[in-house]
Amino acid sequence: MTEEALKDLLYKIADDQLILGHRNSEWTGMGPLLEEDIAFSSMAQDKVGSSLAFYTLLHELGEQEPDTVAFTRNAEQFHNCQLVELPTGEYNFSLMRHFLFDHAELIRFKMLAECPIEEVAQVAKKLKGEVKYHVMHANTWIKQLSNANEEANTLMQEALDYALPYALGIFEPSKFENDFIEAGIYPGEKAIETQWKENVSKILEESGLKVPDWNSIEPVYGGRYGKHTEHLQPLLTEMTEVFNVDPTADW
């Protein structure tokens, strides 16, 4: 397995976490309930902090400093799935995105905690505890809200139907799928996807939501290789606004 392959993997993880954490920070101070505002904001910080851990691994592999890598690339250079760049929408969408994404992340980190590359395994091992709480949070919310009343059930179903095609984009196959599998890094995106479908379906059913036939959903691919929606560049322009006043300055 080459270094290029490893970077491919680490970049997509880091970019996913950064963009999602950034999106979720839009709720800070404006959440539906004080306590939930606090919890959601913590998880947003966890994501950004997590992305920093992965950009740091990339830096150790020869990529530039995390600040430079995160704050000076353009949209077509990002490898996040399109799901995480979509606007925050209302709380039903943000919650559903959190649920769908974090289930995948937990599986991914559990797998990577066993990977033969020590540095990666260490980071994954540490972070999977964090994501475990994120999944606990998501499960409780999806179940309690969707089962609560008709209004909430409808809103959550709408969010699910909208998000699912994008969520499948998390598992867009990498150029290096076979390399990862052969080198025993992790069993590959298909394996995560299969486990993920099982895990989320169970919770969604318990929540009184309808899970469509998986075969009927067209996954939205492209994010992993720089093809993004019209939302990513404005997000990046905003995120880097102050940094780009002077990228060489010490802020």
């Binding site: 800070t28 101070g29 539906p32 950004v48 809200l145 209004e151 995120m239 002077d246 300055a249």
Partner: protein, 332 residues
Amino acid sequence: MYGGGQVFEPSSTNNDLLKDEDPKKLAEFEARIARGEKIEPKDWMPKLYRKQLIRMIEQHAHSEIIGSLPEGTWITRAPGFKRKLALMAKVQDEVGHAQLLYGAAETLGKSREQMIQDLITGKSKYSNIFNYPTFTWADSCFISWLVDAGAIVNQLANARGSYGPYCRALDRICAEESFHLKYGHHCVIHLATGTPKQREMMQEAVNRWWAPMMHFFGPSDKMSTHTEILVKWKVKMATNDECRQQFLDMYVPKIWELGLTLPDENLKKNPETNAWEFTEPDWEEFKRVINGDGPCNKERLAVRRTAEERGAWVRRALASKTKGEEYVAPMA
């Protein structure tokens, strides 16, 4: 963080509230305070004490939640990971502080939804400084450092007050604030000692925010009344003037050492009196802004109202499963 200048609104009913109280109970209550024992929620307390404490703690809570908005303006644009993570954490902390403080006020018998409603309708006040706009990143850094510094001066004083739940909340808040202050100072240092553009940004922010900062601790106590009994009851722990002097003494030298100037040519420490002298702030403007006519009042309330309304379906849904649950005031 929050602001001083708490408006203990003098009203003719205050004396009425006091004269109906059982003199024996009142004496025991005051003796307990005098010997430094905290008052806890189940203790007998005079109506005036309860009323003023609710107002004070509630205002503080509102200040925290509204206070999350000026810095929140820059939360998506913080430059670099260190700043991004820190600002996300700081703004979150403010929401957390609001939660702690509403909880403390609730022990006195006012429900949280009533307090939130009073904030949105404009009935309850919050610290005036948050009615001003954060035009640049440097403005948010000014707040993170100096407005927090001002708040800490108040909080440290109030943490020695008489009401248990408020003191406990303040202990927690003060512990978290230590990182806020360091973060804010760190940001300002970097701007003030950085590139010419950064220095200019910081100086302009300072020029904009100095007047509101001088308003922060409220009018001189010579101008306000009813502080005597609140001091006796350890509700008001320091005068506005004392807090302002302490703030100036601690922070003006630190501002000047960074090469920043302050837009008040009269600002100096008198070597004989050891007190800071300054141009008297415009208290008419203070009154105008706190009563609704500031640059951001409408926006702050509109955002708060929007947040509540966007979240209504969530609370409605979750509450639909808990009908019949009886709410009681928290105990501590």
